[in-house]
């Protein structure tokens, strides 16, 4: 299986390194031609305005939407989640808008408010997932077909899944726990078989 990591800006190397450790072939995606033959795509954390502009400059929106329309899984972490959202509070920045979710960018404030916390993620098993939030967004609304995978202790939504689409407000690529990556690869495997 071949998984792409959008590599226009951000923490793409971290995702690629985890995927390789799981035995997958990894492609860094900077141009539409890099998307050929992929079984899934990860949009990493980074600056969503930067990622959005670079995707636009090199014509990546249409082919990534097409990849998702063909049922290939797409996972966005942090900035990637913003790119996937249909609705971005108070912003008309470019986006893929694939997922029926609303997000609030930098919902927690500036870097001083970045944090780590243990989350219960029932879909990944009983043990907590240690999550790193960096100038993170929040899920503010989810459509009817969207399953919420994780919430903060106060109930706010931070991870969700909709068919072949996965969104996390935090960064599983910054910790040693690979369960979210395993989960994503499993989504891709189901689509292949």
């Amino acid at each position: 299986m071949k998984i792409g990591v959008l590599a226009v800006q951000g923490a793409f190397a971290e995702h690629a390194s985890i995927l390789r450790s799981l035995g997958l072939e990894v492609v860094e995606v900077r141009l539409p031609s890099d998307l050929a033959g992929l079984d899934g795509l990860i949009i990493p954390g980074g600056e969503s305005t930067t990622i959005g502009k670079l995707m636009d400059a090199y014509g990546l929106y249409a082919p990534v939407k097409d990849l998702a329309a063909r049922g290939k899984p797409v996972w966005g972490t942090c900035a990637g989640m913003i790119m996937l959202a249909k609705d971005i509070e108070g912003s008309d920045q470019p986006r893929l808008g694939l997922m029926d979710i609303g997000v609030n960018r930098n919902a927690f404030g500036r870097q001083a408010d970045s944090f780590e916390v243990d989350l219960a993620v029932p879909a990944l098993g009983t043990s907590a997932f240690h999550a790193v939030f960096i100038r993170a967004p929040l899920l503010t609304s989810v459509g009817p077909g969207v399953e919420v995978l994780a919430r903060l202790p106060d109930g706010r939504m931070v991870a969700a899944e909709q068919a072949n689409l996965l969104a996390t407000a935090f960064h599983p690529e910054l910790t040693a726990d690979v369960r979210f990556h395993d989960h994503f690869v499993e989504l891709a495997r189901k689509r292949v078989s």
């Binding site: 800006q9 980074g46 600056e47 960018r105 001083a112 790193v132």
Partner: protein, 293 residues
Amino acid sequence: METGTSTVKRGLAQMLKGGVIMDVVTPEHAQIAQEAGACAVMALERVPADIRKAGGVARMSDPSIVQAIMDAVTIPVMAKARIGHFVEAQVLQAMGVDYIDESEVLTPADMQHHIWKQDFTVPFVCGARNLGEALRRISEGAAMIRTKGEAGTGNVVEAVTHMRAMTSEMRRLVNMPKDELPAAAKEMGAPIELVLEVANAGKLPVVNFAAGGVATPADAALMMQLGADGVFVGSGIFKSSNPPAYAKAIVQAVTHFNDAKILAEVSKGLGEAMPGLEIGAIPEDQLLASRGW
């Protein structure tokens, strides 16, 4: 919920990778930078080329300038404190800037000691000319490293020298038998724990950007091909003849640093780059890279 941890401090730098951090002196500059695709901005009163020209003592910027820039953009905002000036750093932390650059571009406040950065919840980036210097800064709590280069010159030669020094010293450690590592640590003046970490991982434990003299898209891609995780551009954008065009071209050059056809495309018709300075023509006491240790 834990804030200000080493993971979240280093983590923000990881999110900036593959991006360009631009020096800006007004909210309008900051918006041009954001519009061009900068992943963060450095809020300053003067760009390094003007600091160099003005001479005298260069200090932390007026907080009202930093605040106006923080209010103007949604991307992270960094600001500079003088080497060793922990009160300037306290002020910037209190204002909520996203990163502090303990910078040789400003006049050092302490000739012997850098800021003890582990006491802060805001992350710091520090300049380095070689691996030993980078590891000393990391041991003090720096969550991100950049080459010093020679700021405000538009001349990339020093940034190249510093990046090559770091990568070749890392290669040397990786290939060194374990029993020689303590002597190497002593020789480079770095803590043995960090030397062992680099010898095992083959890279710094924090993100490493290039800085100090980047003036063109080709300069930026050169630093990326030499192993930089991203690029700071100081005077190179707003001292060029066409800042929006330079800003956008350098952003694209950092993403497509390995694609010479795209580099050719983005380098076309940008107009005059910032005026450059020959390093040899700068009096020794005006060299910025030798500030700090």
